[in-house]
Amino acid sequence: MKIRHWVSWFCVALVASLALVVASVADDPPATESERAYEIKATMLCPVCDGQNVLESNAPVAAAIRAQVDELVSEGRSDSEIRAWMARQYGKDVNANPPGTGVASLVWIVPVFVAVVSAAFLAFAFRKWRMGRGTEVSDDDLKVVSSLREPT
């Protein structure tokens, strides 16, 4: 019984890990220049709009950034070069994806940390509840329950 229980948990963990791996591997790099430009523009914020990326915005600055991204991609500039250039011209907030270093990296780290802590907490709570089920019922407990069930 106990082995079957652990096997089911192992299967859940295996499926979850496989799903994560497949999801990250399936995120293929862009096949064409226009796909690459599209991905960059989709993750670049319009500097004069509220939370709109440059693909969605009609602001002239968004049109200018779109045109420049197309130009720089066709020149063969790398994604990081283009992002660094735009961040220099319009501030680092122009990039919608936060960087992986510095304080902003907490955006990536905190969710993973919270997920791990939550999983550990749930495992601990389930274990405690299961152990609680095996407690012997004392005579005093039975007396309390029967007194509560007696009609008044």
Partner: protein, 183 residues
């Protein structure tokens, strides 16, 4: 609730409180996202490329004016402050016809509308169409009008966001000329 459980709850609450406090401190002390609007990383740097053929077919290159002042103005025909500042640009150009030049670059505008704007409001200085927005992005332009003053030597010395006056620009010119004379 037992004493041990109460302490666990208190510790967890204190931990959550500290994390929230950390976020509040981080948000309160971080650099403002609008900083790029008022400052320019270009000040003190060599002017980015401003090269092209103007609306009259003449070639313009900012590097050809490295001994004088260049006032680079990003404008749009639909922009009211641009319309209001236009006579001031003409005034500044007139004052500096021997040691400076104005160059206008339409931003978020069509060549047809830029031509109509100059036909209506006058101005005989170069107007360069910004193909692929290389110049606008090179100067980090957010919204018109924006102006940049390039000093002798090709160094960007000032940036204005919004409507400017000829006197405003000349205050910077006089200030820098005074500093140069003091040396």
């Amino acid at each position: 609730m037992t004493g041990r459980n109460a302490w666990t709850v208190r510790l967890a609450s204190a931990g959550m409180g500290l994390i929230l406090l950390g976020f509040v401190v981080m948000l309160a002390t971080r650099e403002s996202g609008t900083g790029a609007a008022s400052r320019s990383p270009l000040i003190g740097e060599l002017v980015p490329a401003v090269v092209g053929v103007d609306l009259n077919g003449a070639t313009f290159n900012v590097d050809d004016f490295s001994t004088g002042w260049v006032l680079i103005n990003f404008f749009a025909s639909w922009c009211v402050p641009c319309e209001r500042e236009h006579p001031q640009l003409a005034e500044w150009g007139e004052r500096h016809k021997n040691d400076g030049v104005v160059v206008s670059i339409p931003f978020g505008d069509t060549e047809q509308d830029a031509r109509a704007f100059f036909a209506e409001h006058g101005g005989d200085w170069p107007v360069l169409m910004d193909r692929n927005a290389a110049m606008a992005v090179g100067f980090g332009v957010l919204r018109p009008p924006e102006s940049f003053l390039v000093g002798p030597g090709g160094i960007v010395v000032a940036k204005w966001q919004g409507q400017i006056t000829a006197d405003e620009v000349d205050r910077v010119v006089s200030d820098l000329e005074g500093k140069t004379a003091d040396r």
